[in-house]
C-alpha cells in the first residue's frame, strides 16, 4: 500500500533519483536493508546506538529501545532526512560519547560491562551536549516505533469518540 503510494507521479521521480542509495533494490520498505547498505551510519555505530538505548530505555515489563531496534530507524533518518551539517554533528556526537567512554573506562562502549556503561551514562547525564542530543533522538525513535506505540503505550488507531474530560490516560 505504502510502496504503491510512493510510485505514483512524484514517486517515479523519487525512485529514479534515489537509485544510487539502493532504495529501488529493496523489495519491501524494510528500513534494515536500506540502512545496512547505505553506510553513512556504520554497523558498529548502530550497535552502539542500540546498546546505549538499552541503558537509557531498558527492557522492563515492556521491551526497551534495543528490542525496538531503534538504530535501524535512526540510521535511515540520518541518511535521508538530516542535512549535511546535522549528519556530521550526529557522527561527531557518537564519537564524542566513545571518546568519553575510553577516557573513563579505557575501552569502547561495546566492550564495557553493564555497570561501566551505566557509570558512563551517569557521568554524561551531568551536562553533555553530544549525549543529550543522541538521547532525545533515541527517545523519539523508541516512542515512534511499533513497540513504543503499542507495547509501551496503549495504541488507539480509531478512538471512535472524543472525551474531553477523561479519567484515563490516552496513551
Amino acid at each position: 500500500m505504502k510502496r504503491r503510494a510512493f510510485i505514483t507521479k512524484g514517486g517515479i521521480l523519487l525512485s529514479t533519483i534515489t537509485v544510487g542509495s539502493n532504495f529501488v533494490l529493496t523489495t519491501s520498505c524494510s528500513s534494515d536493508t536500506v540502512a545496512e547498505l547505505s553506510g553513512l551510519v556504520s554497523a558498529k555505530e548502530k550497535r552502539l546506538l542500540n546498546e546505549l538505548g538499552a541503558i537509557i530505555i531498558p527492557k522492563t515489563d515492556t521491551p526497551g529501545a534495543k528490542e525496538a531496534e531503534i538504530a535501524e530507524y535512526m540510521a535511515v533518518i540520518v541518511e535521508d532526512c538530516y542535512s549535511d551539517e546535522d549528519q556530521e554533528k550526529f557522527k561527531l556526537n557518537l564519537s564524542n560519547i566513545e571518546m568519553k567512554c575510553s577516557q573513563m573506562h579505557n575501552r569502547s562502549f561495546l566492550e564495557c560491562s553493564q555497570g561501566e556503561r551505566e557509570d558512563l551514562v551517569m557521568a554524561l547525564e551531568e551536562s553533555d551536549e553530544s549525549y543529550s542530543s543522541i538521547k532525545s533522538f533515541i527517545t523519539s525513535a523508541y516512542l515512534s516505533s511499533k513497540i513504543g506505540k503499542t507495547e509501551f503505550f496503549d495504541y488507539y488507531q480509531v478512538p471512535g469518540k472524543y472525551d474531553g474530560c477523561s479519567e484515563k490516560r490516552p496513551w
Partner: protein
C-alpha cells in the same frame, strides 16, 4: 453528442469544482470535469489506516522532499504520507517577486483532501466592509443573497458547530458541535460576559461530521485529516468523499484526470466561450473540448492564469480582462499571532481521541461603534485549544522510561489569530513573458505583501489573546508571532473579483464574467475581500451552488 462536446465543462476538482460538478450533473447537464492531476478515489487510494511505524520515515520529511518541493515541504501538514497530495515544485515552478508560499495539490479532489476544514459564514459586516471603508470594490451581493445557499450546502457538507446568535458570525445548518475539553469549557465559562467588547469562546465550526451523512462518517477522532492523510471513514468533507461521487451517480459526469486547461476558446462572433484547450499532462498531447457553459474552478492563481493565457484580438491582455483587474487584488490572510499559558487544575483529567477542531473566538473588533479601532479597519478571530501533553522525563534507565509515560503537570492552552487582508490593486499575480513550465504554460509570478493595516493589527492580536487567557485563569502567559509570509494561510483570493461595475471588476453578482457571459468563476479568485473570519471554502461552495442555479436557469431561458 460528439465525444468532445458537452453541455458544461468544469475546470478543476477541488472544493468549488466538486460542487460545480455535482450541481451541474444533478441538474441534468452532461458535464466534462477536467483535472490536471491523477485520479484519487475515495477510500480506495487512501493510506490513512497504515500505522505510522510502518511508514519508512514515521512521517518525517526527507532531504529529497525538500529538494523537489522546497515550498510545499514547508506547509504545515506536508509529511511523509500527505506529500502525495502536494505538487512537485520543480515541475510546477512559480516566481516569487516577494515571498509567497503557494500550497498546491494537483489531483482529483485538489486541496479538499488536505484542507483545514473550518467553515464560517461571511456576515453582513464582511459584505459591507469594502463599501464602508473604501478598500476594494463593493461586493455586488449581501448576506441575504447568499444565506439560502449556505443553508443549502451546509447539510451536504456536514458542518459541526454551535448556534450562537451572533450577527457578525451567522449561524448555519449545523450538526452537533465537537465537545470542548474540560479546560476549554472552564476558560470559556470564566470569560463569559467579562469583556465589554463581547469576547467569547465558542466551538470551532468544522466540516468534520458528528453525524453520519449517507455513507460518510461520523468522525472517528483518529486525526488523519489534520495530518493530510485523508479519511477512510469519510469523516470530513472533500470533493472525493462527497460531491464527485454524487456527480458520478447521476451518470452525467465525465471525469478526465491528467487534463490541464491552458486556454479558454473564445468566439468573437457569438461573444462567448466555445470550449477549452487541454494538454494531457502525461503525453503532452493537446485536445479541445466544447460546451455551452464553463465553470472555472482551478483555484485562485491558476484560474486567473488560464484567463491571462487566453488572449485574442478582442482580449489582448487576457479573457474577460476589459477591466484590467485580472490578476490584481490578490489577498491571503495574516495569521499566527497569539498567546499561550498553563492551567492549574484538572490534573487528574485527560483528553481521549484526536479531535480535528478546537475552540473559536469570534471577531470583536470594529463590529460596532464601541469596538471601533483607531489604528486599523476590519479585524481578526482566534482558533485554539487546550491540551495535556506528557512530561519531559529526566535521567536514564527504568525511572526515565517510566517517566516518559507521565502526563505533564499542567494543561496548556493557546489561541492564534487569523486576520483580514485588505484588497490592494498592487498585490497581484501575472504571467512571465518568456518562462514556461514543462507543459508550455507561462510561469506565474506573484507580487503580494501585507501592508500597514495588517501590520497595525499584529500587537493587538497578541495582546488581546493574552488578555483572554488571563481572564480565563491561565498562568505563565506568553505571546507569540509565527511571522508567516503571504500565501501560507492558503486562503489566496481575489484575482478575478466580483463587482457591480464591469469597469472595475471581472465577475457580476452571479459569478458570471461581465465580458463573456457563459463563463462562471466560483473559486477564491471571485472574492472582493478576504473576510475577517477564516474558513472561506464554505463561501466558495455556497457561491458555486448559487451560480450553477443561475447559469442553468439562464441556459433554459436561452440567454446563454
Amino acid at each position: 453528442m460528439k465525444n468532445n462536446t458537452f453541455d458544461a465543462i468544469v475546470i478543476g476538482t477541488g472544493i468549488s469544482g466538486g460542487w460545480a460538478a455535482k450541481e451541474l450533473c444533478e441538474k441534468g447537464l452532461k458535464t466534462l470535469v477536467l483535472e490536471r492531476g491523477r485520479n484519487v478515489e475515495h477510500i480506495v487510494d487512501y493510506d490513512d489506516m497504515v500505522p505510522s511505524w510502518e511508514t519508512k520515515y514515521r512521517g518525517r520529511v526527507t532531504n529529497e522532499d525538500r529538494r523537489i518541493s522546497p515550498v510545499q515541504s514547508g506547509v504545515y501538514n506536508y509529511n511523509e504520507r500527505s506529500k502525495k497530495y502536494f505538487v512537485n515544485d520543480l515541475d510546477n515552478p512559480y516566481i516569487q517577486d516577494k515571498p509567497f508560499e503557494w500550497a498546491r495539490g494537483y489531483q482529483v479532489g485538489g486541496r479538499s483532501l488536505i484542507w483545514g476544514r473550518q467553515c464560517y459564514r461571511r456576515s453582513e459586516l464582511d459584505f459591507e466592509a469594502n463599501a464602508k471603508d473604501g478598500f476594494g470594490v463593493d461586493w455586488p451581493i449581501r448576506y441575504k443573497d447568499i444565506a439560502p445557499w449556505y443553508d443549502y450546502v451546509e447539510p451536504i457538507v456536514g458542518v459541526s458547530g454551535s448556534k450562537e446568535g451572533l450577527p457578525h458570525l451567522p449561524d448555519g445548518q449545523f450538526q452537533p458541535p465537537m465537545p470542548m475539553n474540560c479546560v476549554e469549557a472552564e476558560v470559556s465559562r470564566r470569560i463569559k460576559g467579562k469583556f465589554s467588547d463581547g469576547r467569547m469562546i465558542i466551538h470551532g465550526r468544522t466540516a468534520n461530521h458528528t453525524l453520519k451523512i449517507d455513507d460518510r462518517g461520523p468522525c472517528q477522532y483518529k486525526g488523519s485529516c489534520g495530518a493530510g492523510h485523508a479519511c477512510s471513514f469519510g469523516g470530513y468533507f472533500s470533493s472525493n468523499s462527497a460531491t464527485l461521487p454524487m456527480a458520478a451517480k447521476t451518470g452525467n459526469m465525465t471525469l478526465r484526470p491528467f487534463s490541464m486547461v491552458q486556454e479558454i476558446l473564445y468566439d468573437k462572433e457569438t461573444q462567448s466561450a466555445t470550449g477549452v484547450r487541454v494538454i494531457d499532462t502525461e503525453t503532452l498531447e493537446q485536445r479541445e473540448f466544447f460546451a455551452r457553459i464553463i465553470f472555472l474552478n482551478a483555484s485562485t492563481l491558476n484560474t486567473t492564469a488560464i484567463l491571462l493565457n487566453s488572449t485574442s484580438d478582442v482580449f489582448p491582455t487576457g479573457l474577460g480582462n476589459s477591466s484590467g483587474q485580472l490578476g490584481h487584488n490578490l489577498m491571503d490572510m495574516p495569521y499566527g499571532m497569539g498567546a499561550r499559558g498553563t492551567y492549574e487544575g484538572f490534573e487528574d483529567k485527560f483528553t481521549f481521541g484526536r479531535r480535528p477542531t478546537g475552540i473559536f473566538v469570534p471577531r470583536f473588533r470594529n463590529i460596532n461603534k464601541s469596538t471601533e479601532q483607531k489604528d486599523y479597519v476590519r479585524g481578526f478571530t482566534y482558533q485554539g485549544g487546550a491540551g495535556r501533553g506528557r512530561k519531559a522525563s529526566e535521567g536514564f534507565g527504568r525511572g526515565y522510561k517510566d517517566g516518559l509515560a507521565e502526563p505533564a503537570d499542567q494543561w496548556t492552552m493557546a489561541i492564534t489569530a487569523w486576520a483580514e487582508h485588505l484588497p490592494y490593486f498592487e498585490n497581484k499575480m501575472y504571467l512571465h513573458k518568456e518562462k514556461k513550465d514543462k507543459y508550455g504554460m507561462p510561469v506565474i509570478c506573484v507580487d503580494c505583501e501585507f501592508k500597514e493595516n495588517e501590520a497595525a493589527m499584529v500587537d493587538d492580536m497578541m495582546n488581546s489573546a493574552a488578555e483572554i487567557l488571563e481572564m480565563g485563569g491561565l498562568k505563565n502567559i506568553e505571546t507569540y508571532n509565527w511571522e508567516k509570509i503571504p500565501g501560507s494561510c492558503i486562503h489566496e483570493t481575489g484575482t478575478a473579483r466580483m463587482g457591480k461595475d464591469p469597469q472595475t471588476s471581472v465577475l457580476n453578482r452571479w459569478n458570471q464574467m461581465h465580458d463573456v457571459k457563459n463563463i462562471f468563476i466560483t473559486d477564491g479568485s471571485a472574492m472582493c475581500s478576504s473576510g475577517t473570519t477564516p474558513g472561506p471554502s464554505i463561501t466558495y461552495m455556497a457561491l458555486t451552488a448559487r451560480a450553477v442555479d443561475y447559469a442553468v436557469k439562464e441556459l433554459n431561458k436561452r440567454n446563454l
